[in-house]
């Protein structure tokens, strides 16, 4: 398997290796939108009492996936904009949806996954979209690690539920036509050995080793490396450890998947941790007592392609893998550029920290330099896991040469953000490429919708 690029940034704030339980909240704030899902069609009325596991809203554009009530409680619809609020929470046995009919449009097991809230854990490996429940899946790619700083770690979840994970894998294998590829980090840890042992001899489940470099755990990168091309009639699924555990919970235990393990990490947190929390858990309560007493920025997701949490997000989203908190830069340094840099971790070798072994750097949100023209250092190209040339696309974008950009393979970009992270000229390469791609898909491929990146060449 050929994997290229990637880089393990050594940043301070990696969440610790155990999972803490959070106290039951007094109210849940469920955001109606997350990265891919828009729960716009409400099914409940203001003041209505619902039971845990009942659907509160549907996402009409994403195959009518339901937004489940994580706990029993009373619905407040207009209390917070963009959120469904649940108050007066109670611990009750969850509501179970009716048994799906065997002859329906969707395979009954898949319908269970949808009804019990496990479907949003699935990704189309090529486009990252929510996979179509009616479309057969050719294969599935399971990434047991999540290498983006600081998403929830796969090993932490595996350590406490390896058995469930292996059981979930077999259920997953029964849902796809060919193979389930399990990406296991190339690591000598005892857990990796146990995982490999557990996978050995399983039919239609294949372990593939990946190096521990972000973003080589990305589904699209793995799909390309495994030679799984996009097909029109079948999809390739991508999911992570928590996704396999969700499948197991839905199909073996028949329980709605409403709690999830999330991470709270980054340089702005006193003690980076993993937390088990129901969806909609108030962000404020999650962070209370964990933040450093300095200006910080809270990011939903990881450092490299998360989204800044504005006033919009009050509770933990359906798809949120965790929160990353970064310090805002404090003060400025006199003659920063002539410092020895013993305390700076850089991809280049221009700082004395190259002699420092295992040091990690507490990052801030500073851009750390002035915007300059591209000096063609080639770092972006070296790191790019998709094998494209961000510096070239930058130049072409300057000339508005969309067709050229398309020809340079910009649609292969997985948006990992490494190019922008390393750029010494501080160019916003990720944003430029994604913006160009949006226009390309809209304008250039508009007449021939079949010819998008998902279609085989």
């Amino acid at each position: 398997m050929k994997l290229r690029g990637g880089y393990n940034i050594r940043l301070a704030g990696r969440p610790a290796g155990r999972i803490e339980d959070l106290p039951e909240p007094s109210a849940l704030l469920l955001p109606q939108r997350s990265r891919r899902l828009r729960f716009t069609q409400l099914l409940v009325k203001n003041g209505q009492r619902v039971r845990a596991g009942e659907a509160l809203a549907l996402a009409p554009e994403q195959f009518a996936l339901p937004l489940l009530a994580p706990r029993s409680g009373t619905v407040r619809l207009r209390a917070q904009r963009g959120h469904v609020v649940l108050e007066d929470l109670a611990q009750e046995p969850p509501h179970l949806p009716p048994e799906p009919p065997a002859g329906g449009e969707v395979n009954p097991r898949r319908q269970w996954l949808i009804d019990l809230g496990a479907w949003p854990f699935l990704h189309d490996a090529h486009s990252d979209a929510v996979p179509d429940p009616q479309r057969p899946a050719r294969a599935a790619i399971v990434a047991t690690t999540h290498l983006e700083p600081f998403a929830v770690r796969g090993d932490v979840q595996l350590r406490e539920s390896l058995e469930e994970f292996l059981r979930g894998l077999e259920l997953l294998a029964s849902l796809v036509e060919e193979t389930v590829f399990v990406a296991v980090p190339r690591s000598g840890s005892e857990l990796a050995a146990r995982l490999r042992q557990g996978l050995a001899g399983k039919e239609r489940i294949r372990a593939v080793e990946i190096p521990l470099r972000y973003p080589l755990d990305h589904f699209n990168v793995l799909a390309r490396a495994l030679g799984l091309r996009a097909e029109r009639s079948r999809s390739v699924w991508g999911l992570r450890t928590e996704g396999v555990l969700a499948i197991d919970q839905a199909l073996t235990l028949r329980r709605p998947v409403v709690d999830r393990v999330v991470s709270v990490g980054g340089s702005g947190v006193t003690q980076p941790v993993h937390l088990r929390a129901p969806r909609g858990y108030p962000v404020e309560a999650m962070l209370a007592g964990r933040l450093l007493d300095r200006p910080v920025r809270v990011i939903d997701g990881g450092i490299l392609n998360g989204e800044a949490v504005g006033p919009r997000l009050l509770g933990l989203g359906v798809e949120s893998t965790g929160l990353t908190v970064l310090l805002e830069p404090a003060g400025r340094e006199l003659f920063g550029f002539v410092r020895t840099g013993l305390d700076r971790i850089s991809y280049s070798r221009c700082f004395l920290s190259v002699f420092r072994g295992k040091y990690v750097e507490p990052m801030t949100t500073a851009v750390r330099g002035e915007h300059r023209p591209c000096i063609a250092c080639g770092f972006c190209e070296e790191l790019c896991p998709a094998g494209i040339m961000p510096h070239l696309i930058h130049k072409l974008a300057y000339q508005d040469a969309l067709e050229e950009i398309d020809r340079c393979g910009s649609l292969l970009c997985v948006g990992c953000g490494l190019c922008t992270y390393v750029c010494p000229s501080k160019l916003e390469l990720r944003r430029e490429i994604l913006a160009a791609n949006e226009t390309i898909v809209r304008d250039l491929h508009a007449e021939a919708p079949e010819q998008t990146e998902e279609a085989p060449a």
Binding site: R224, R297, I299, I303, L304, N305, G306, E307, A308, T324, P329, G331, R332, E333, L334, F335, G336, F337, G341, R344, I345, S346, Y347, S348, R349, C350, F351, M363, T364, T365, A366, V367, R368, G369, E370, R372, P373, C374, I375, A376, C377, G378, E381, G387, M389, L392, R407, C408, G409, L412, G417, T420, Y421, V422, P424, S425, K426, R430, R431, A457
Partner: protein, 362 residues
């Protein structure tokens, strides 16, 4: 630091918006960036950024050139420092003037150009000539193309070529016998007036007559030549440092030095009487300074890794051809300029190959 921050905060309104000094905004920004660095925060993902910025990047080149500067001052005296001061001032004026005209930031790239330029001139070049050369180099070599990052040719070499063509006499006879002993020429200010120090010939010129300078002298730098190009040792120290810090790409350097070595060796084997030994040619003239510090300029060399090898080999071959089969005794300058010219073409070929491979994978 706090005081400086206050100062910049206080004076900022003067330069911004409709402030009275708004025309000088690039200057105030450059000063602020120089002292305090950027205050900008990342607004979009990725939210953290690598600490390397272009100031640091350029500073690495200057650090790497310091051994060569020291060697140069030792062998050729204090005049080198005067040349450097003139080069910085004259080139700096052009850079700042263009930044003000364009209302863009002042770029750091000039610090390298200004440092490198006097080092490729004979140590007795008149100071006004240094100024004219660097102004021409920065203006025609860089600014007319749109400034740092957009130039086709290496500005240092454009400036030097201009001088070599416009004032051929000064640039071929201005060489000086290097100093020796404990202090070299550290206490001297050589010029065309102290005639006792002058000679007319660099080792490459003498080699045409069949006289080869000793390898050891060439390694240390105790030979006549341009101010900063003589000491192979100092340049090697700096060059290896640059390659290790990955500011310079080893592919360019290895391509050039490798092809010069192989081709000179082939010629030497064919006719030892006419062609010098390969080791000798490696250390002669401006090959090291050119290979380590000019051919590695990322802007004017190819972007692609394969292209970098081709570019290096092309330059190396041109050096050997010009040195042995033309009226010029030294060819590094022309070879690199020709290489610069070819680099977009070389890139185009490699990029097309790359794109074809990507499309197959898609």
């Amino acid at each position: 630091v706090k005081l400086l921050e206050k100062l910049f905060d206080l004076t900022r309104p003067l330069f911004e918006g409709r402030g009275p000094l708004r025309a000088l905004r690039p200057l105030s920004q450059a000063a602020e960036a120089f002292f305090l660095g950027s205050a900008e925060k990342a607004e979009a993902a990725p939210f953290a950024r690598d600490p390397l910025d272009s100031k640091r990047f350029m500073m690495m080149v200057i650090i790497a050139l310091c051994p060569a500067l020291c060697a140069s001052v030792y062998f050729f005296g204090l005049r080198v420092l005067a040349m450097m001061a003139v080069s910085y001032m004259a080139g700096g004026v052009v850079e700042v003037a263009f930044a003000l005209l364009r209302k863009k930031d002042i770029h750091e790239g000039f610090f390298v150009t200004g440092f490198l330029f006097p080092l490729v001139l004979p140590p007795t070049t008149p100071l006004w000539m240094v100024a004219v050369g660097v102004i021409f180099g920065v203006l025609v070599g860089k600014e007319v193309f749109g400034g740092t990052g957009r130039n086709l040719f290496n500005p240092v070499l454009v400036g030097r070529t201009f001088l070599a063509v416009a004032y051929p006499k000064a640039l071929t006879t201005g060489y000086v016998i290097p100093g020796d002993g404990w202090f070299g020429r550290l206490d001297q200010y050589v010029s065309l007036a102290n005639v006792d120090v002058l000679t007319g010939a660099t080792p490459l010129a003498m080699a045409r007559q069949g006289e080869y300078a000793s390898l050891w002298d060439m390694f240390v730098g105790s030979i006549a030549g341009s101010a900063g190009e003589t000491s192979a040792l100092a340049l090697l120290l700096g060059g290896v440092f640059l390659c290790l810090t990955r500011v310079a790409n080893y592919r360019n350097v290895a391509g050039i030095l490798g092809s010069v070595f192989v081709l000179s060796a082939a010629l030497h084997l064919a006719d030892p009487a006419r062609f010098g030994p390969p080791w000798w040619h490696l250390m002669a003239g401006g090959l090291f300074i050119g290979a380590f510090f000019m051919a590695t300029d990322p802007v004017t060399s190819p972007l692609t890794n394969g292209g970098k090898w081709v570019y290096g080999i092309l330059i190396g071959a041109l050096v050997v051809v010009i040195r042995h089969f033309s009226g010029y005794v030294e060819g590094v300058m022309f070879a690199i300029l020709l290489g610069n010219l070819a680099s977009p073409l070389i890139d185009e070929a490699f990029i097309q190959l790359r794109i074809r491979r990507l499309q197959l994978e898609r």
